[in-house]
């Protein structure tokens, strides 16, 4: 079987989308790894949804003696306390920022993405309980929504689908999907397959995708 991208590689590819000066919020899971792979030479500022803006990287293990646990990202991991340019605010201002379309980009995980860009990512099961979190707000509010996820479920079922079966996070919100097999752009005509993992073909990716894919005329291999 051909090799798929690692979680790190998915995050690296997604992080390549960041532009200089972008304000970005990262969801849990693979998206969080993007904090480590912001493009060199570009200033990218991350937002933590509980109320912090402007950190560029997280404390590494060898720096933990410097750690101040009042300076943490949305997952509670320490950022550099000396990060210059940080600002703090309450959680309502944070979601004003998100809902008000001030963030340039968010990278979120996905359980299913439809060909129209519908996103389902908060529950595998019913609506009885679940972890809605800030995903709905981010999917609706961020100017650009990138989904970073595996292309198929653990038992091999497609996650890029015609219509989502799982409860939705938001309708028609996704701009780009980065998986361990492909980079897909949501367009008016449908899903454009722009890049494939090294060694994979359009047909092979299509066979693991429920939605119909449109091959980019200049289909490329994913570069990290």
């Amino acid at each position: 079987m051909k090799e798929r991208l690692s979680q790190q590689a998915i995050a690296m590819r997604a992080a390549k989308e960041f532009q200089d000066g972008d304000y970005v919020n990262l969801g849990a899971g693979i998206p969080l790894l993007c904090a480590t792979y912001a493009p060199i030479g570009k200033d990218v500022f991350f937002q933590a949804e509980q109320g912090m803006l402007g950190y560029s990287r997280l404390l590494q293990v060898e720096e933990w003696e410097e750690a101040d646990l009042d300076y943490v990202d949305a997952m509670g991991r320490c950022v550099l306390p000396s990060s210059p340019g940080l600002s703090f605010f309450d959680m309502d201002t944070s979601f004003d920022m998100i809902r008000g379309r001030h963030l340039d980009c968010t990278v979120l995980g996905g359980l299913e993405v439809s060909e129209k860009g519908d996103l389902a990512n908060w529950t595998r099961g019913n609506l009885e309980w679940g972890a809605v979190g800030g995903g709905m707000d981010l999917a609706v509010g961020a100017r650009r929504v990138i989904i970073a996820m595996t292309h198929t479920t653990k038992d091999g079922k497609p996650k890029v689908v015609k219509e989502c079966r799982l409860p939705l996070t938001a309708k028609e919100c996704v701009d780009l999907i980065v998986t361990d097999l492909a980079v897909l752009e949501v367009t008016e005509r449908g899903l454009l397959l722009k890049e494939v993992a090294p060694g994979w073909t359009f047909e092979e990716v299509q066979s693991l995708t429920e939605a119909r894919l449109i091959p980019d005329p200049v289909l490329q291999e994913i570069q990290l």
Binding site: W64, D70, F88, D92, L127, A131, V132
Partner: protein, 238 residues
């Protein structure tokens, strides 16, 4: 109404524990999440770090954006309570939840949010098109009591916070009949730099000082953090 995030900084742990110990029941608890405190994959017990999860066993209803504990958490009080029909669950998104609390604190009757359109959040809500875009009507939320965790207070009740754990504390302080703040230190009026005051005293009814280096204090948490980090790092080295 209470805030919690990550390792539990910003969480009024003593107020939560005292409420639990008081043995009250049938609470309606509003909190962004009901998860265990965690750090680097390690989950703390409620003896080490109190979170709103502790109140789930005392609740008849919870309003939250995050009702499942982490997979590696062992405390399933809320999940089991919901599954068993003992706890009513009102689920929403982080952003809609905090905006509803703000509406409750600022005297608004409700607001139209774009978040939740096309999802389960539509259920029972008015959907309305405004300037060509769909919105859902969200109603205000208020509580009888707000528990707030701040860094310092002055004796009048002005509050300052520290770092990224301000969270929803300044908002929930506005939206309760009685707002109680739990702080590391209480100083004289005039000692706080007015430019750093986030919660004006008008929103605060009572202040509780955490015992010096006591449970939930900044130094207690910092110590717990260092011990945990050391253990995690030693584990990695082995």
């Amino acid at each position: 109404m209470v805030f919690h995030w990550g390792m539990g900084r910003g969480t009024p742990q003593n107020l939560i524990r005292a409420t639990y110990n008081k043995g009250v029941s049938d609470l309606i608890v509003i909190s962004h999440n009901f998860i265990s405190a965690h750090l680097g994959g390690r989950v703390f017990s409620l003896d080490e770090v109190c979170t709103p999860l502790m109140l789930a066993g005392r609740a008849k209803k919870v309003i939250t954006a995050w009702a499942t504990d982490y997979a590696h958490g062992k405390n399933k009080t809320l999940e089991n309570g919901v599954a068993g029909g003992r706890i009513e669950l009102e689920l929403t998104s982080h952003g809609n939840l905090i905006e509803r609390v703000r509406a409750g604190g600022s005297g608004l009757g409700g607001f139209y949010s774009p978040v939740g359109v096309g999802t389960f959040l539509e259920e029972g809500k008015e959907k309305r098109v405004i300037d060509g875009k769909e919105y859902l009507l969200e109603k205000p939320l208020r509580a009888d009591f707000a528990f707030v965790r701040a860094y310092k207070a002055d004796t009048r009740g002005n509050l300052v916070y520290r770092g990224s754990v301000r969270g929803s504390n300044p908002i929930i302080a506005m939206a309760a009949d009685v707002t109680i703040a739990e702080v590391d230190e209480i100083v004289e009026v005039g000692e706080l730099d007015p430019e750093t005051i986030v919660t004006p005293a008008i929103f605060v009814d009572r202040i509780v000082k955490i015992a010096e280096d006591g449970f939930g204090s900044t130094s207690y948490m910092q110590c717990l953090f260092r011990t945990t980090m050391r253990t995690l790092l030693e584990g990695e080295e082995e």
